[in-house]
């Protein structure tokens, strides 16, 4: 029904374009130059206004009515139920109404289903009628505006500009959305649990201490997760920084054009491989390999060792570091290289004494972005690192990370409303930490650009 409505609005929009254009052509008659704007702009103007009105009403109406229906369903529930029971009741009722499987059928659920069916019918028909009517109305009105002196082009361009501004504001809206959505749940979580217990506690087992939907503050200490994240990140950087940096140095100052044309695409392939593939590689190949190698050397290596996840994450970050470093090393002006060579320095001396110090801020920012990536990386650790919170610095043991726990909480079997608290609190922490690294890195890069551009 709604897609039908969208189609009708689309037809109105297209029709509006041609009607307005034809009308303008007729008005212009023998001397089209009389028209202030060319017919196509009249068409565009009417078309844009109709589309904005029709689709705008449809989308905004859909969102608002969804929220309203939800509110109506919840307020119609019998009293004396916990939040979890209310959620379950509503979702079962909705499922029943749409003919899907519900966890249970009883009177209350049936009532919800009936109400939902009734409301959603009103919603669909009401929205369809309203949006088509408004679109038609706007079409008629703006069609009436078509006239010889009408400044359709200016009006149309204004509309376009506003759309452009709205588009670029979406980036800001996204950030606001991230902060708001994370912060909302996080604040709810911290209303029950002191922040310092979360940040400095050393025992993480949030779901084992749930009692009536509230958690045991002693069991939400995130230190083991932070420690695990740091451990894996350090291992990853130990792999990625030297390999990436030496690759970049070789590529920018030693490699022939031919070697470059082979090595660069190779690193790009490494960069283009999805993280889930790296995760599979870590879990199925690297981890067993390390475990068997360890066993052969008499070491007990966990099959979900931090080492396996860290090494593979390092491999993933190599191209990241190497391409960013390659860029900044190449951006060091040739005149500095010439100056050094002109004094009889070798390539190695030039790189060590002139290029690297000059490129250092850029390289630092590459490393920082790499660290931010390692901290936020999810799939490799979900597939290759452990689930259990284990506070250790031994890379051969299994550790868990912030991202692993977010995934475990959200995709686990626990009620969404219970698991969301710690998950969003972790997500917010993750966002803040990576944000600090990103801003730090971007600042360094900006400074670096100021020096050499």
């Amino acid at each position: 029904m709604l897609s039908m409505t969208a189609l009708i609005i689309l037809i109105l929009t297209v029709a509006g374009f041609f009607m307005a254009r034809n009308r303008a052509v007729i008005l212009g008659g023998e001397t089209p130059a009389l028209l202030h704007s060319r017919p196509v702009y009249h068409g565009g103007y009417v078309c844009a206004r109709t589309a904005i009105a029709g689709f705008g009403v449809l989308i905004v109406g859909l969102i608002l009515s969804n929220i309203a229906i939800r509110w109506a369903l919840y307020s119609g529930l019998p009293g004396g139920l916990s939040e979890i029971e209310r959620d379950l009741l509503v979702s079962d009722g909705v499922a029943l109404a749409s003919g899907a499987l519900a966890s249970r059928t009883d009177e209350a659920r049936q009532a919800v289903a009936t109400l939902y069916g009734y409301l959603s019918t009103i919603q669909v028909w009401g929205l369809a009628l309203l949006s088509v009517c408004i679109a038609a109305l706007v079409l008629a009105r703006s069609l009436g505006q078509v006239a010889i002196p009408f400044r359709a082009r200016n009006r149309f361009e204004r509309i376009v500009q506003v759309m452009l501004i709205v588009s670029s504001a979406i980036a800001v809206l996204t950030t606001i959305g991230i902060v708001a959505s994370l912060l909302g749940q996080t604040l709810v979580f911290f209303s029950d649990i002191p922040v310092w217990k979360f940040l400095f506690g050393t025992l993480w087992s949030p779901l084992s201490g749930v009692h009536d939907g509230t958690m045991d503050p002693e069991k939400v200490g995130a230190i083991p997760l932070f420690a695990g994240t740091v451990l894996i990140t350090v291992i990853a950087m130990v792999v990625a920084v030297p390999v990436g940096l030496f690759s970049a140095i070789y590529l920018s100052d030693f490699a022939s054009a031919r070697a470059r044309s082979i090595i660069k695409p190779m690193l790009e392939i490494l960069a283009g491989i999805p993280t889930v593939v790296y995760g599979f590689f870590a879990a199925i190949t690297v981890a067993p390999f390390l475990r068997d190698t360890g066993a052969a050397m008499g070491l007990s290596v966990s099959s979900e060792s931090a080492l396996a996840a860290g090494v593979v994450m390092g491999i993933m970050i190599i191209p990241f570091i190497s391409s960013l470093s390659d860029d900044v090393i190449n951006a060091v002006p040739q005149s500095l290289r010439d100056g050094s060579y002109g004094l009889g320095a070798t390539k190695a001396e030039t790189i060590r004494n002139v290029i690297l110090p000059a490129a250092l801020p850029g390289i630092m920012s590459a490393v920082l972005l790499g660290v931010s990536r390692a901290i936020g990386e999810t799939m490799i650790v979900v597939m290759a690192a452990g689930q259990g919170a284990n506070l250790t610095a031994n890379p051969l043991e299994a550790v868990t990370t912030v991202t692993v726990q977010i995934v475990a909480l959200i995709t686990g079997d626990t009620e969404a409303s219970t698991a969301a608290g710690p998950a969003f609190a972790l997500g917010f922490t993750l966002f803040c930490i990576t944000l600090i690294f990103n801003i730090w890195a971007l600042r360094l890069v900006r400074k670096y650009r100021e020096v050499y551009d």
């Binding site: 002006p333 005149s335 500095l336 010439d338 060579y341 002109g342 004094l343 009889g344 004494n353 002139v354």
Partner: protein
């Protein structure tokens, strides 16, 4: 004339190609020690390219190819047993745009001595830095802020710093590729005086765009045109009695 007759560079049949472009066409020239030799000519005439052959800076460009014989004190600098790194220590270079390293003034000057091991200890290095900065006429201006970054100096000071840096490496020859083109007139005057003075101690080769400059500071002048060395003589002769029509045209300002 106070020019020495000792020949530092003897070049015969020098050709340079950039890929398929024939940039220098079969040129012969003798460059004398303890004097300033100026290369002049219109843009793209090959004077800078030729200069960069003298310390093999062209080696850093992949597609560049040099043939012919370039003898420094009688030894072919393009022979297999000459290490370009060693050669460049003997034949220092100053570039068109001042290019101090993003380090302190002291470290800029000490860079060459450090990589070549010219000073045995800190005291010797200090002395060497002071000598070089004094020789470049910069000591009095910077002696109180040796730790300040070299990039913070004015353009003329930066260029003199680059000259001091080149001198500190103890070269025998100094190549200068339009060293004053990025400087204002006052800084140019200071640097020109400096170059004239250096000509008494080193073999200085300078590429310049300005005929007045060549006239002021050089003892000999070579005029290049389209990759050919058209005329090479004492500076006086080039500017007062040029023999070739092209030289006449250029020095009288009819093209260039």
């Amino acid at each position: 004339m106070n020019t020495s007759d000792a020949i530092k560079f003897r070049c015969e049949g020098v050709n340079v190609w950039y890929g398929d472009t024939h940039a220098i066409k079969d040129n012969d020239i003798d460059i004398h020690d303890k004097s300033v030799t100026a290369f002049i000519g219109p843009s793209g005439c090959g004077k800078s390219t030729f200069l960069r052959c003298l310390n093999r800076m062209n080696d850093t460009i992949d597609i560049c190819r040099v043939t012919g014989s370039l003898l420094l004190d009688g030894n072919d600098i393009y022979s297999r047993d000459i290490d370009p790194v060693q050669l460049r220590a003997r034949v220092g270079m100053v570039f068109q745009k001042p290019n101090p390293f993003p380090k302190s003034i002291y470290d800029n000057v000490a860079y060459g001595p450090r990589i070549h091991g010219l000073a045995r200890n800190k005291a010797e290095l200090d002395t060497l830095v002071e000598e070089s900065l004094s020789a470049a006429g910069l000591w009095d201006e910077v002696k109180d802020r040796l730790a300040a970054p070299g990039t913070g100096l004015s353009g003329g000071q930066q260029q003199r710093l680059c000259i001091a840096r080149a001198i500190a490496t103890k070269p025998e020859v100094l190549l200068m590729d339009e060293p004053c083109s990025a400087l204002d007139p006052i800084a140019t005057e200071t640097v020109e005086e400096l170059i004239s003075g250096l000509g008494e101690r080193y073999c200085v080769v300078i590429v310049t765009h300005s005929m007045q400059q060549a006239n002021r500071i050089s003892q000999r002048t070579a005029f290049f045109h389209l990759g050919n060395l058209v005329e090479y003589d004492t500076t006086n002769a080039i500017f007062s009695t040029p023999k070739d029509d092209r030289t006449v045209g250029y020095v009288s300002g009819r093209f260039g």
